[in-house]
């Protein structure tokens, strides 16, 4: 049985192990001491075990409601359902930082296990950097955010957990997001190790690519889960708010997409090396900035349930160290990296360079928009706001350009492509897509370009990608060869196609949803009937009852259309311990999209405010995101990449 004291002690031990891992790895690789280099992976594994058990100890304290721990007393309650006692471990600042560092150590241990084929010096250096980053965060946790502080007088019961967080989403969204954030630390460690080594080549790119892919997959899933959670929990069906905390996760995502693409160029064409290294450093810097934004509470945000300036300053220090060391080393060593692969202006390489430009500019827009209110206040003393309307207007154009570039860049050949056939091909694809967009536009009863543009972009990306598959299989061969080639396409190639189409599907989802969303708000009493969006809706009554740790009012609605009947039960909950209300939306999947319903107590006695939405094709957002993640996973499990060998 691991007690809290064991957990506390193991956390401190893990911190020192991480420091040792850093020093021994760097010294060993620098002086070419074989034994030191061989110890480093073992240290990474032991460090993970130590912090892993420490995390288990905290989980245990939450699950057994040990209120002698200040953290448990402040953030839990004995009547909370077990799932939220468990997930509540990271539903607070200290616990989530412990999870952060545990995941960091997990990645370190995974690198240690799966890097036997790497040159020993590179391996030792990667693990050393991983250890040093870990040490900084262990120090942060132990000095400013220790989850294991005891209370001299334990309270009889805890103060509960924010009811909005009492949702299955809490169990999945933060872990995936952190796996993504922290996964980028591996890419960063590889970049620093590569600079120290002075050698960045196809083999390096091949070793690092699975880790970048894994981080990106987790980040994609984490962001999608968060968006879905917001959609069903916050009560009005928004899926993205351009909130600083969301931006904090979007920025590393954008950079990791750029990185994934440029690393392919390093691997296949031996060029764009220093750029790729730079992206790796920037990507992890944004992960840290994201952690800073979330954890410091410096930027006001609906998410910031933690705020304390000393913590903010500490993380800021870690960020500055990372950036100074990372960029300093880059400035010193990167000029020595020589590229061998040349390419013509019309080539896949150029396409990827432009892709990187667009992603980096859109990331810069998000970054500036997020930090602007803070900068403006410090410089001029005026308080300004930067919200969704700004981001919609300034971010979207770059993403539209990215979607236009995508199928062209993806189908040009490496090194030197031919322009004329590409122009011919995309004139046809563009016209087909235009036909579809016009068709959709003509069906509209009111004028609007949003949906036709989204349909065009979707068709452009999808047709382009389908043609790429077709061309790959059909060039110079009959039907038999077509099928055998189709089956012979490598998983990483399928991954690319699926991820690209997923991106198109997501654009379609956003455009259609925003163009054709329907809303009906009314104040009614039960029983009564009304009509909205072609549905006959009857409000049958409100049931009052008690859940595990809350009271509820549950509305009962019957929707019918063309003889099909759907029942919806939206709820209001009042959490007894926290005294806070939440709304639980009722959502039914329908062929038109989601039918989404919310009720609130009305202003007049006996009346209810009823909100009914139809969200057309909203699920395409998450289907698109899942397809991107699936594409990444297929690429990750490509046999050729698993070997990790130099050709």
């Amino acid at each position: 049985m691991i007690t809290t004291e064991h957990g506390h002690l193991l956390l401190i031990i893990a911190g020192f192990l991480a420091l040792a891992q850093g020093i021994i790895g760097l010294m060993g690789a620098g002086k070419n001491w074989r034994a030191w280099m061989q110890i480093t992976p073992a240290l990474a594994l032991v460090q993970f075990l130590a912090v892993g058990f420490s995390f288990v100890a905290l989980l245990g304290a939450f699950m057994t409601s040990d209120f002698s721990l200040a953290l448990v007393a402040d953030n839990s309650h004995s009547t909370k359902p077990m799932l939220y006692k468990f997930a509540g471990t990271w539903g607070n600042h200290e616990g989530s930082m412990l999870m952060w560092v545990t995941i960091l150590a997990l990645f370190g241990a995974a690198v240690a296990l799966y890097s036997q084929k790497m040159p020993p010096a590179l391996r030792a250096r990667v693990l050393a950097v991983q250890g040093l980053v870990g040490f900084a965060f262990y120090a942060f946790i132990i000095l400013t955010s220790n989850p294991f502080w005891r209370l001299a007088v334990p309270p009889a019961d805890g103060s509960g957990l924010n009811p909005i967080l009492q949702d299955p989403g809490l169990a999945f969204h933060p872990p995936f997001l952190y796996l993504g954030y922290v996964g980028l630390s591996v890419t960063f460690s590889f970049a620093i190790a590569g600079l120290l080594d002075g050698r960045v080549d196809a083999a390096w790119a091949r070793f690092v690519r699975p880790w970048t892919l894994a981080a990106w997959i987790f980040l994609t899933i984490g962001i999608a889960l968060g968006s879905w959670w917001a959609y069903y929990e916050l009560g009005w069906g928004g899926y993205w708010f351009w909130d600083p905390v969301e931006n904090a996760s979007l920025m590393p995502w954008l950079i990791s997409v750029a990185l994934l693409h440029s690393a392919i160029v390093v691997e296949k064409r031996d060029t764009l090396k220093s750029w790729t290294i730079l992206l790796a450093i920037i990507g992890f810097s944004f992960s840290l900035i994201g952690t800073f934004i979330v954890r410091s509470g410096l930027l006001t945000s609906v998410h910031s349930f933690a705020s304390d300036p000393t913590r903010g300053m500490f993380i800021l220090g870690i960020i500055l160290m990372t950036i100074i060391i990372g960029f300093g080393l880059f400035a010193w060593r990167a000029p020595k990296l020589t590229a061998s692969g040349a390419f013509a202006p019309v080539s896949r390489e150029s396409g990827i360079v432009i892709n990187n430009l667009l992603l980096c500019v859109s990331c810069a827009v998000v970054f500036i928009g997020t930090m602007w209110p803070l900068v403006a206040e410090m410089l001029t003393g005026t308080k300004l706001s930067v919200g969704a309307p700004f981001f919609d207007a300034s971010f979207t154009p770059f993403f539209i350009m990215l979607a236009i570039l995508l199928p062209i860049g993806a189908s040009i050949s490496w090194k030197r492509g031919k322009l004329a056939p590409i122009i011919r091909l995309f004139a046809i694809i563009g016209s087909l897509a235009l036909g579809l967009a016009i068709f959709v536009g003509l069906q509209q009863t009111s004028f609007g370009v949003l949906a036709p543009i989204a349909v065009w972009l979707f068709a452009w990306v999808t047709f382009g990608t389908l043609h790429e598959i077709y061309q790959r299989c059909a060039t110079g061969g009959g039907a038999n060869i077509f099928w055998s080639r189709l089956l012979g396409i490598r998983r990483s190639e399928w991954g690319k196609y699926i991820a690209h189409i997923g991106f198109g599907i997501m654009i379609l989802g956003v455009g259609i949803l925003r163009a054709y969303e329907f809303e009906d708000v009314r104040s009614i009493s039960a029983p009564s009937t009304f009509e909205a969006a072609g549905f006959d809706i009857s409000f049958d009554g409100v049931e009052i009852g008690k859940g595990p740790n809350y009271l509820y009012q549950r509305g009962e609605f019957t929707l019918s259309k063309n003889g099909k009947v759907i029942k919806l039960f939206p709820e209001n909950r009042k959490f007894l311990v926290e005294g806070m209300p939440t709304t639980e939306t009722a959502i039914a999947h329908h062929q038109l999209g989601d039918l989404y319903m919310v009720i609130r107590e009305g202003q007049e006695e006996g009346k209810w405010s009823v909100y009914f939405y139809v969200k057309p094709l909203v699920n395409l957002l998450w289907i698109g995101a899942l397809m991107m993640a699936l594409g990444g996973a297929l690429s990750l499990f490509d046999r050729r990449m698993r070997l990790g060998a130099v050709k």
């Binding site: 009005w236 390489e349 810069a364 602007w372 930067v386 300034s394 069906q443 509209q444 809303e519 057309p616």
Partner: protein, 135 residues
């Protein structure tokens, strides 16, 4: 074809929010649509980054009612925004003005794109100058 059938379903009203209460909704759908679009651009001044369209705070409700009154009086969208920002400061605008320091914010994306584009064009040219040995 099922997808096409889906795409052709057309609904009228743009935007959505939970905060708007039934008694606030204007009977004129055109004015109401303008009110909704406007309230998405105005910040709930006591909230943390929420628009008045999304916030259920009392201040947000007052502002929603106020801007609807101004709409009925016949003010243009811009006049309403100017009126509100003269009362509450530019803090209330979620879409900062293009002007003064705000210009930097708006221009930074396009400028970076242009500079980056020039840099990328030079890089691509120089990469092509190296003799490409044919496969």
């Amino acid at each position: 074809m099922k997808l096409l059938a889906l795409l052709t379903i057309v609904f009228g009203i743009f935007g959505a929010a939970f905060a708007v209460e039934p008694d606030e909704v204007l009977s004129d759908p055109v004015l109401e649509a303008r009110a909704r679009a406007l309230s998405e651009e105005l910040r709930c001044v006591v909230c943390q980054g929420e628009s008045i369209d999304a916030s259920s705070a009392a201040v947000a409700k007052d502002l929603r009612v106020l801007l609807r009154e101004k709409l009925i009086e016949g003010l243009s969208d811009q006049e309403i925004k100017d009126y509100l920002s003269s009362r509450y400061g530019d803090f209330i605008l979620l879409k900062p003005r293009f002007g003064g320091a705000g210009a930097v914010l708006w221009l930074i994306g396009p400028i970076l794109f242009l500079l980056g584009g020039i840099f990328v064009a030079m890089f691509i040219r120089s990469s092509g100058k190296v003799e490409i040995d044919d496969e």
